[in-house]
């Protein structure tokens, strides 16, 4: 592994500690993975690449241009998974129109109620997955209200149904929903890899250190190319995927 992105945020003592604690071992891939695309929707990406400090004015959760740097990596992962019949599971948010169910989110963010207000400048729904990587008819979409893709959802039931032993996780934010999803997958004893270039965050330090934490304790942080190679090595059509259901049209076309 080349110099990891987090090294420049660590203290010298931290580097020495990580070297001796035994953490950061490489666990390797499993045999039956699902690809998890976490929260790559307009609220986190904006509708086009915009400097983050501009973008964040409209979309308080935006990660700005970094989202769009990640997009082609995400697309390659999804395309390859489709090609091999590997399950692709998307997560995104869902809220009542009156935002009551934002619950604890609202307590920590002064702009939480903007999500449901009228936005004169756009008619995109922030929870819509961005069109460039939008789910196809055999993909699985999980609607959630809290950081983890497992909490308050049927994710665990779906992974059992698919017979998965492992997950490839990527998307956004690294320090938020990606990490929360990784944590639950780890706690359920799934083997986890993170496709590094597909992960993004609005905070650079949080992005780097959360990758560091996850790589140390819960998951392998690997290059997207390694995941693609791994997918390529799998037998085709290992999984009993959904037969296919019509997907709602892109919101701009409704």
């Amino acid at each position: 592994m080349s110099e990891p992105i987090w090294n420049k945020f660590l203290t010298e003592r931290d580097k020495a500690v990580f070297e001796t604690s035994g953490y950061g071992a490489r666990q390797g891939f499993g045999k039956r993975p699902a690809l998890l695309i976490i929260d790559v929707n307009y609220a986190f990406c904006d509708e086009r690449p915009m400097p983050i400090l501009e973008s964040i004015k409209r979309w308080r959760n935006s990660c700005g241009e970094d989202a769009w740097v990640a997009m082609p990596y995400l697309k390659r992962l999804i395309d390859k998974a489709h090609e091999k019949g590997v399950p692709v599971i998307y997560t995104t948010g869902v809220r009542r129109a009156d935002n009551w169910d934002s619950g604890s989110w609202r307590w920590k963010n002064d702009r939480a109620d903007e999500d449901r207000s009228n936005r004169p400048e756009t008619n995109v729904d922030g929870n819509d997955i961005v069109a460039e990587i939008a789910p196809g008819p055999k993909d699985i979409v999980i609607y959630k209200q809290k950081p983890s893709g497992f909490l308050g959802t049927n994710m665990a039931s779906y992974l059992t149904l698919l017979g998965c032993d492992s997950v490839i996780v990527t998307g956004t934010t690294t320090s938020g929903c990606v990490r929360a999803t990784v944590l639950d997958a780890f706690s359920l004893n799934y083997r986890i890899s993170l496709a590094e270039e597909g992960c993004f965050d609005r905070s650079q330090a949080s992005h780097a250190i959360n990758l560091c934490d996850m790589n140390a304790k819960y998951a392998d942080v690997v290059k997207t190319s390694e995941v693609l190679e791994f997918f390529g090595s799998l037998p085709s059509n290992l999984f009993d995927l959904p037969k296919g259901a019509p997907v709602a049209p892109h919101p701009s076309k409704r």
Copy 2:
């Protein structure tokens, strides 16, 4: 709030992003808190204050001297909670003697099997809570195997039984079990404060950035003195606590 510990790890862009995203609002305390003391056991603290790089040779999970800097803060919190009849819930680990149930932990740590090997130099069990802050007969001890104090435990059931609306979380590691516990409490819509000086980690950057992430999104990071003042302001004996039981080991250890 004085300059937070995490600012020196953030980039300039990060600071600007956090300022405008709306995150980091102060939510305030609830009305019926429980105090959660996460994993303050010998495996994370060693048996005495030792330089971390020394300590970590014996106890791979040790946070070294920082654990012992936190100890008096933890003690003050626990004492005040006892005085007012606020529930104190401790978590610590539990493992089979053959370590089978370490599961995914073992995949990521080359030294995972040391936990169960003979230790000529000590007969302390790493999962024992350190004597200086050890639970009393009316305290609640939760044995867990994964980072979160909620996952695979009765934590949620206990909080309902106690009628809690909030938790004060502290202990170790900030980036590991503290964060995982905070995340689940957040997802269950409990109001959360972190007693900052009681939190510790083996990585300095992880400690700081995880406090930053949690303060931004999930919890208020506050000084221990604020929590003590808050406890002081509560009516006494709000809770129907356990009558008191001799502290029992996990049944598998009897």
Copy 3:
């Protein structure tokens, strides 16, 4: 309590056992209840009162006329809860158009795939809550895929957000989703009452015996009139309810 409905299904030994085991104690109501209306949708009720053996030909899950005997009781409970500002939480099912996510349901029912097939005789969606008791703008609707209203949903998070200590459960089927929801509420230490006349099932013996089991171990089976009286005794507007939102379909159905 008058002779309970289940007595005629019990053996003499059973009655003697229940008398001496200590089970069946009355726990009483809590202080902050939510009303849970479980799965009162067209799939379980049909569109009008029909003899069950007729109805079940069209709707394999139908409970026939018993659903419509329960309906006025359900309506009274809901109206009273609305009047007092007690939260009303409805559950109903949700499925992909290709029925992949029926998972284990399909393994046990030869007619599972009918749910998604064309129904020349109706254009009602089986998962729609029946119009007679349909949710209003301040009510909460939970979409689920498995029996319990808690599993794979945000029910627990909502009950914490509302500060509930108890639930009044009613709806259908007594032996299926009602029981599963009661079981999880019990396990989370919520105090539970079942409004008896609002509960219905397609099997008479299952209805009676499941009420018996729940009354013995998990919940008080009480008359609807007792619940109404209890609601009447509560202070008004104890809860921070949703401000009100147009009732939205599950996002997958938009």
Copy 4:
């Protein structure tokens, strides 16, 4: 299948309904099962076969002689699982000495506090698994506080770790912890069979009707001989079992 035990408790209408609803289909075994032995401890079995109405005076949860009729079936299942290297997971209860954590159990049972009182007539711990079928060093024991073997435990994490796609469930009580465990396994999309003769309950009607409900909706109720045959058909040593940990001695020998 011969006349099922529950038929004599059903009404004529019930039989007609079950025949047409599509429920009760046979799902068949999975490929990687675990054997779950639910709560076969002294509290539910007494220390020897005793008429239930006698036994229940001492052990309020006792199922009396039926427990001991089941015992040889349980033993055969466990022996065969051991022979083939199929994982055997036992559940049993655990409580604080002051019984605080009985929570909602205590609300519904007038005799709940007996569990912890002195018992002049015995020094057996009710939560100890009966010696005749006690766990061996490679077996897994899960301590729980609520009916389901999944709730508040690491059961789901263990099943993922073992790579199980299915569970064989048996033990006690049919209407209590067996049913609750089956329900959660169903909801997580595990394939489930119940070994009928190994299941027992203190109520005859509850036993029969809960088998009926589970067979209709969640699990196959099969003869123990079928499970033994199925185990016999499996390749040996499919699983990465625990290496073996010393098991605490029988309580009478401590």
